[in-house]
Amino acid sequence: MSVATQQKPPAHGHAPPEGFLWKYVFSKDHKVIGIQYYFLALVSVFMGMGMSLLIRLQLAYPDRMWPLLGKIFPKGMADGVLSPEFYLSMVTMHGTMMVFFVLTTAPQGGFGNYILPIQIGARDMAFPTLNMLSFWTTFAGFCALVAAFFVQGGAPLGGWTGYAPLSALGEIAGPGQGMGLNLWILSIALFCLASLLGALNFLATTLAMRAEGMSLMRMPLTVWAWFTTAVLSLLAFPVLLGGGVLLLMDRIGGTSFFVPSGLVVAGQPIDHHGGSVILWQHLFWFFGHPEVYIAIIPGMGAVSTILSTFARKPVFGYKAMVLAIFAIGGLGFFVWGHHMFISGMSPYTAVAFSLLTLTIGVPSAVKTFNWLGTLWGAKIRFTTPMLFALGFVSLFVTGGLTGIFLGQTSIDLWFHDTYFVVGHFHMIMGVAAIFGIFAATYFWFPKMFGRLMNEGLGKIHFMLTFIGVYAIFVPMHALGLAGHPRRYYDSSTYEYLRSANSLHMVITWAAFFTAAAQLLFLVNFFWSLWKGKRAGDNPWEATTLEWSIPSPPPFDNFGALEPVVHHGPFEFSVPGAAKDFVMQTDPPSAATGKH
């Protein structure tokens, strides 16, 4: 072969892999990695949901025996009685599983990985090998968490926040404080590391690998959302990683970062000196509050895109939306203290945190306002992704407004650590974020797998889930109004909580109803993988780059072509244009008001 006839190597950094292991397991292709993240989240979400159902059983029927479940969980539910240890470990593991391996994994690791490079016209992430390592480190973290169930001493039971010194003292502080808790810390540390590597990749890719014409202000709002989330991950996860290492040192290395002098636990003096209990909370919530936005900002991005697509209208106030995402992310780093009003932190500091917290209401209101503005004068197509996006807006309003209560020092004296908090964060970072994931799933499934999900089943799934989540989480706020503390194995002995039992029953039945409705999703998902209608390149008549290439996209996304971007991301219903949408890659002659 002469040099003259040699083909110019493709712009792609690495060749298509060969062999099952390199193609599907240790793949460096961002699309395969995205799907791996997504499936990890799918497994985790059903595990987490199963745990929540056991929690709900106990709360509605504290005295009932479940002999059949006793056979499945011979230790935790011996003779069918759900033990307090088992209950608290379910509470802890449900929270950890959902926050890390579902709400952080699916929106960013899953959809971000798959869609972001394509939407900016790149062939892959900036660092494909790092990307592969991020996923497998996350997976190792998942294995460590699951292993915590099976070790001597049992799974941890101190809640997903793992407050010191309960979490720092070891087995003397009670059951679940041994090896299971070490594994829990290890799991979170691995997760932090993986997220950090992932964040670097997202940032480098977005900044350096955009196609010609893809200026920052032409990026779809999804890309802005994933980018902002990566910035938050980069700044927040290292702090939790550091905190986790210090906690582990306190437990096994004899240090005293979080344990003060003079403690006596179970009658035994503790040989630790000079630590600070509140330090753990500062480190944890410095991560923990931005984490809320890490979970929900990608959902905001997806919902903005989906609303615009099916409203057949440009996003209302694109620039304001970009600024609002940044404002929410940025302010998110200055409000962690609102988790600590009653922690013993200075009451003056609490006032400052309270005022800062309420200002987050402003960019959140901007988002809501602009979503409604996008619907104004629209021509709405009620597809399943659109239904979930509309549901997201409703849930975001409900879950966001209850934050106005909890952000106030005085009202927090009443609501802190009650079910009002549980209802609030489930509404917003739980189900609103999950609705973002569902909307994204129904929207991008045809791109990822080449087939559409069933619309009829999807719509029924939406209706049942939408009604179900309100039915679950609204009564939780009522429990909080009544002053019901969270993480109680049984509240039936308290006179002031006598109205609680009927509410617990409503919530539990609603939870089982909603969980059952998710089987529709599973059936739809797997049935559509094999039997769904062929999607074609652009089934939704959408405008962004991923819809300009085949479904599923080829290995290097754009083949021999280098995409060139000529238009803004949401050019729908442009007057004078032949169709009601102008794709970003359409020739510049296509009429459009914005370039």
Partner: protein, 266 residues
């Protein structure tokens, strides 16, 4: 589809309203001025957020209905409106920050004031899963404590036996008695892990943190027996860690203290 969806959005908004504005689930009786102020701040916030909530859910449902695809050629081609955007932001900022400021007064009353000289001082030392309540006795002064003097029964808070001020200190378990209409200054401590002292009828919750002594003020204005619970997960039987708050007439309060002191010396 549009009508069904709009109906569901509105129906769920009403469902939410039913549970949140239904006072049969609301707080138990308030027994202090501060508690009543916290309640009215809560009601103010309910009103403000209620307007925003119902307005947003109503508009969402209405737009779903109004702007469904009716076969029109194209939707409105519009990229936004900065005047509405900025106007809306200013309104939201003013309202939210005003609400936040309104709530700080009662917070300051609980946390940032100093107790008057006639205040009754009580110290609470939490441990898994007990509240040790110490009264200073007739001399009005607490004896020094040190963990090395802890006993399982008897000297549970570790009062220094050589300190004269501690001789008449009285420690009881899970019972906090206070005189009615008298300022009380509580000091919260913990021996082992974080607990949280939650008195629902006073609307007060405060963590008891190992290594810290955290002050707290209240004045109960209604005689009666009330429940106190633990609000911070502190271990396996966290859910059973509770105490009674007894608000007594001043004479009954003195009698109660003497009865407890007599029990201890027996």
């Amino acid at each position: 589809m549009a009508l069904l969806l709009a109906a569901i959005v509105w129906g769920l908004a009403l469902y939410t309203g039913y549970y949140l504005y239904n006072d049969s689930y609301w707080m138990p009786t308030a027994i202090s001025d501060a508690a009543r102020q916290i309640d009215s701040q809560l009601v103010l916030t309910m009103a403000v957020t209620g307007v925003a909530f119902f307005a947003a859910q109503f508009l969402l449902g209405w737009f779903i209905l109004k702007y469904r695809d009716r076969g029109q050629a194209k939707a409105l081609y519009q990229h936004g409106d900065n005047r509405i955007e900025i106007g809306g932001m200013i309104i939201v900022t003013v309202v939210f920050v005003a609400v936040a400021f309104a709530g700080q007064k009662v917070w300051a009353q609980v946390h940032l004031t100093t107790s008057p000289p006639n205040a009754v001082h009580v110290e609470i030392t939490a441990e898994q899963f007990v509240w040790n309540v110490r009264y200073p006795g007739p001399d009005g002064a607490f004896g020094k404590t040190d963990p090395k003097f802890y006993e399982k029964i008897g000297n549970t808070v570790g009062v220094d036996p050589s300190d004269a001020a501690g001789k008449d200190d009285l420690t009881v378990i899970n019972n906090l008695a206070v005189p009615v209409n008298t300022p009380v200054e509580l000091t919260l401590r913990s021996k082992d892990v974080i607990h949280s002292f939650f008195m629902p009828n006073l609307r007060i919750k405060q963590d008891a943190v190992p290594g810290m002594a955290i002050p707290l003020r209240f004045t109960a204005n209604k005689v009666g027996d009330y429940e106190v619970v633990c609000a911070e997960l502190c271990g396996l039987t966290h859910y059973r860690m509770f105490a009674f708050l007894k608000v007594l007439e001043p004479a009954d309060y003195q009698a109660w203290l003497q009865e407890r002191a007599a029990e201890v010396t027996q």
